[in-house]
C-alpha cells in the first residue's frame, strides 16, 4: 500500500470511528428510550381504553337492569307464559314500546318467553320466532350479558343486552335489547396518542372457535366479524389468553412489526390490543440514524479530500527525494532535490543534497584516483617489464656494467611499486579506521638518519644539501616506529622533490616540555595560497606540483596528517607560491594513542 493511501485511511479512521461510535450509541440510546416511552404510552392508552370500554359496558348493564326490573312487564309475561293470549301480548308490546320511547339509545326490545318463543318485539318481524336454541337465549336465561353482534357484512355491529326477567325467583323470560354501538366504536376508533398507524383492536373467540376482530380496523374497514386473528404469537392471542403485557417484537394483522400493549376484558371475554407501528414509534431514532449516516458520508468525503491534499503535500517531497535517489542508484550524481520544504523533509532534502555534493566530489576523487593509481602502478610495472625483457632479449646485446645498471633500474621500479602499494594500503587502513599502532620508544635522531640514508640517491641526484639541527636535550618519544618513518620520509622527500637542484633543505627538531617540534624547511616551489586549504585532502596535488612532475599519488600528505593526529600531534605549514615551505609537526613525547581502540582494531 502506498504511503498516501495509508495516510488517507488513517485520517478516515480517525474521523469516522469516533463519529460512528457516538452516532451508534446515540442511536441505540434513543431507540431504547423511545421503546420504553412508547411502551409506557401504549400501556396508559390500553388502561384508558379498558376503562372506557368497561364504562360502556357498565352503562349498558345498568340499562338492562333498569329494564329487567319492570315488575309490570314481568307480571304480564308471567301470565303470558301460562296462557299466551293476544291481549297480554298487546300489553307486552305496549310496555316495551313505552320503554323504547323512554330511552332513545334503545333501538329494539324483544321479550322471549321462558319457552324460547318471542312474546313481543319492537321489531314486528320477530314476533312468534322460536329462539329456544340460540346462545343468546341460553345465556340470557342465566345472567345479564352485553354482547357485540354482527348485523351482517357491511353493517355496523350492534350491542345486544340479554338478561333474565325474574319475578319471585322465577325466570319468566329473557329480555333482549339492541343498542347502537356508536359509543363503543367511537372509543375503539379514537386514535388519540397513537399517531398515524396506531389503533385499538378488540377480538373475541366467536362460536366457531375462531378469534375474530369485532370492529373495523384502521387498515381493514371490512374486518369486523370477518377477519380472524392469525397465529398464537400475535398480541391479540396473548390478550385473549388473559395476559396484560407489552410486546416489542410482535407483528400485527398486516404483518407489520409493532409495539403493542394487551388487556383482557374478562366479563366480555374480549381481548384488547393497543398498538403502533415500530417504524412510526422509532421514526425519531431512524431519522437520527439517517442524519448520522449522512453526516458520516459528508465527513468521509471531506476527510478523503483533505487527507488526499495533506498526504500529497506530505509525500511529494519524499517522492522528489526518491526520484533523485533513483537517479543516484543508476550512478547519476548530478541531479539534486529542488523543492525544499520548510520542515523535517526539507532538512532531509538539504542533507541529501549535501550528501550528493560530497558524494560527487568523492566520486570524482575516486575516479581521478583510479586513473592516477593505475597510471602510477603501470609506470613502474612498465619499467620492470621493459628492463627485464631487454635483459632477456638475445638480439639486444649489452655489456656487464649496463646489465648491472638495468638490474638497478628494475630494483628501483620495484621499490617504487612497494612504496605505492604501502601508501594505498595505509590510506585504506586510515579510511576504515584500522591503522595498527605500536607504542615504540623511538630516538628521533636515529629515525631521521635512517630516512636521510634511504633518500640519499635522490639527494645526491639533485645535489640537495640537508642541514640538520637537533636539540641536544632531545629525548626519546613513544610512537609507532613505522609511522614516524612515513612522516619524516614524506616531509623530507617532498622538500627534495619540490626544491630546485643544489638547494638547502633544513630539518630542525626541538625538545619542548611534553612535545617535540619537527620543522622541515625548503626553498622550493611552495604551495599556492588558493590551494593551501586542500593540501591534506586525499588525492590532492597542487597545480604547480602537477606541472613539476607526474609522479606523486596525492596520498602522502593525507597519510602523514592522519598518522600525526592519531599519534596525538598536530601538523601545519607556512608557504607561498615560489616562497618555499616550512612544515611543522608537533608530537607528544608520551604515548597519546588510544590503545584501547587499537586493540579493537587488531
Amino acid at each position: 500500500m502506498r504511503l498516501i493511501e495509508k495516510i488517507i485511511l488513517l485520517l478516515l479512521g480517525l474521523a469516522l470511528v469516533p463519529l460512528m461510535l457516538v452516532g451508534g450509541s446515540l442511536y441505540l440510546y434513543a431507540q431504547h428510550n423511545i421503546e420504553r416511552e412508547t411502551e409506557g404510552n401504549l400501556n396508559s392508552i390500553a388502561t384508558i381504553q379498558e376503562h372506557r370500554i368497561a364504562s360502556i359496558r357498565a352503562i349498558n348493564l345498568e340499562r338492562l337492569t333498569n329494564f329487567t326490573s319492570r315488575t309490570q312487564l314481568k307480571t304480564i309475561l308471567g301470565q303470558y307464559d301460562q296462557t299466551p293470549t293476544p291481549a297480554s301480548q298487546v300489553q307486552l308490546i305496549a310496555n316495551i314500546t313505552q320503554a323504547k320511547a323512554a330511552d332513545s339509545n334503545l333501538s329494539n326490545i324483544t321479550i322471549i318467553s321462558n319457552k324460547g318463543v318471542v312474546a313481543a318485539s319492537t321489531d314486528p318481524k320477530l314476533t312468534g320466532s322460536n329462539l329456544a336454541d340460540t346462545e343468546s337465549f341460553k345465556i340470557g336465561s342465566r345472567q345479564n350479558s352485553v354482547q357485540l353482534v354482527s348485523r351482517g357484512k357491511g353493517q355496523k355491529p350492534v350491542i345486544y343486552l340479554y338478561g333474565p326477567l325474574v319475578l319471585n325467583n322465577q325466570v319468566n323470560g329473557v329480555a333482549e335489547i339492541e343498542v347502537g354501538s356508536d359509543d363503543l366504536l367511537a372509543i375503539v376508533h379514537d386514535y388519540t396518542g397513537l399517531g398515524k398507524t396506531g389503533e385499538t383492536t378488540i377480538v373475541q373467540i366467536l362460536l366457531g372457535g375462531q378469534a375474530t376482530y369485532l370492529t373495523s380496523l384502521r387498515f381493514d374497514k371490512q374486518a369486523a366479524f370477518n377477519r380472524t386473528v392469525a397465529g398464537s404469537e400475535s398480541a391479540e392471542s396473548k390478550a385473549l389468553m388473559g395476559q396484560t403485557t407489552t410486546l416489542t417484537d410482535s407483528k400485527d394483522y398486516r404483518g407489520v412489526p409493532v409495539l403493542a400493549a394487551t388487556r383482557y376484558i374478562k366479563d366480555s371475554k374480549w381481548g384488547l390490543v393497543v398498538k403502533i407501528d415500530q417504524t412510526e414509534a422509532f421514526q425519531a431514532a431512524t431519522q437520527l440514524r439517517s442524519e448520522f449516516l449522512l453526516l458520516a458520508f459528508i465527513s468521509s468525503v471531506l476527510v478523503v479530500f483533505t487527507a488526499t491534499a495533506l498526504a500529497q503535500r506530505a509525500t511529494q517531497p519524499i517522492l522528489d527525494i526518491d526520484e533523485v535517489a533513483e537517479e543516484v542508484s543508476r550512478g547519476k550524481l548530478a541531479d539534486r532535490v529542488h523543492n525544499i520544504t520548510n520542515d523535517e523533509l526539507g532538512n532531509l532534502a538539504t542533507t541529501f543534497n549535501t550528501m550528493l555534493d560530497n558524494l560527487e566530489v568523492l566520486d570524482k576523487a575516486k575516479s581521478d584516483f583510479v586513473s592516477l593509481a593505475s597510471h602510477q602502478l603501470r609506470t613502474p610495472l612498465t619499467s620492470i617489464k621493459w628492463y627485464a625483457e631487454s635483459l632477456l632479449d638475445p638480439s639486444f646485446k649489452i655489456n656487464k656494467p649496463k646489465q648491472k645498471h638495468y638490474l638497478e633500474q628494475l630494483l628501483a621500479s620495484n621499490d617504487r611499486m612497494i612504496e605505492l602499494v604501502n601508501a594505498l594500503l595505509n590510506v585504506s587502513r586510515i579510511d576504515f579506521n584500522k591503522l595498527p599502532a605500536k607504542a615504540d620508544k623511538v630516538q628521533l635522531k636515529d629515525a631521521l638518519e635512517q630516512v636521510i640514508s634511504d633518500l640519499s640517491v635522490r639527494i645526491r641526484e639533485k645535489n640537495i644539501v640537508i642541514d640538520t639541527k637537533l636539540d641536544p636535550k632531545l629525548g626519546p618519544i613513544i610512537i609507532d616506529r613505522s609511522w614516524i618513518r612515513v612522516i619524516l620520509q614524506d616531509l623530507i622527500s617532498n622538500a627534495i622533490k619540490y626544491s630546485p637542484p643544489k638547494q638547502h633543505v633544513g630539518i630542525t627538531i626541538e625538545q619542548l616540555p611534553e612535545h617535540v617540534l619537527i620543522q622541515v624547511k625548503d626553498n622550493g616551489v611552495g604551495i599556492p595560497i588558493s590551494q593551501q586549504s586542500k593540501i591534506f585532502t586525499k588525492f590532492f596535488r597542487a597545480d604547480n606540483a602537477r606541472r613539476l612532475g607526474s609522479d606523486g599519488s596525492g596520498l602522502g600528505m593525507y597519510i602523514t596528517k592522519a598518522m600525526v593526529e592519531r599519534a596525538g600531534g598536530t601538523i601545519w605549514f607556512e608557504s607561498g607560491e615560489n616562497a618555499g615551505t616550512i612544515f611543522y609537526v608537533k608530537l607528544p613525547t608520551q604515548d597519546h594513542h588510544d590503545h584501547k581502540r587499537t586493540d579493537d582494531e587488531k
Binding site: 593505475s374 617489464k385 621493459w386 625483457e389 621500479s413 606541472r547 607526474s550 609522479d551
Partner: protein
Amino acid sequence: MADKRHKILIVEDEEALSEILRDRFENEGFDVFVAKDGAQGLLMALDKEPDVILLDILLPKLDGLSMLKKLRTYEQGKNMRVIVTTNINDSKEVHEALALGARDFLVKSDWVLADLVDSVRSQLEEPYRYVG
C-alpha cells in the same frame, strides 16, 4: 630507403622509461632524441623534425595532447607521425588523440619493446598525411 637513419623523438618524463627506449631504438639504428616534458618536446619536434614522435600524455609543464595540438599549428608539425604512448586508457583522451592525427594510441604496459620497435618501423614504411 632502408639505409637512411630514422629520427625518433621520445617525449617521456619517466627517466627509467626514456632510458630503455633510447637504448633500444639506438640499438635498432635510430637517431634518438629525448624530451622530459611537453614544452621541451615541442621545441625538439620543431627543431629536429623527427620521422616519428613517441608522445606520453601525462607530462609536466605541457601535457601530451596540448603539445600535439600546438604541434599541428606549425607547418613542419602538420604531417608529423605521432604515436601516443601512455599508461592511462581513458577513451576520451584516445578519441582526442586520434582526432589530432595520432597514428596510434598504445598503452605502454601492454607492449614488449621488441614489438614496439617493430610497430614503429613498419609504420614508418607507410605513407602518412594528417588532414586536420
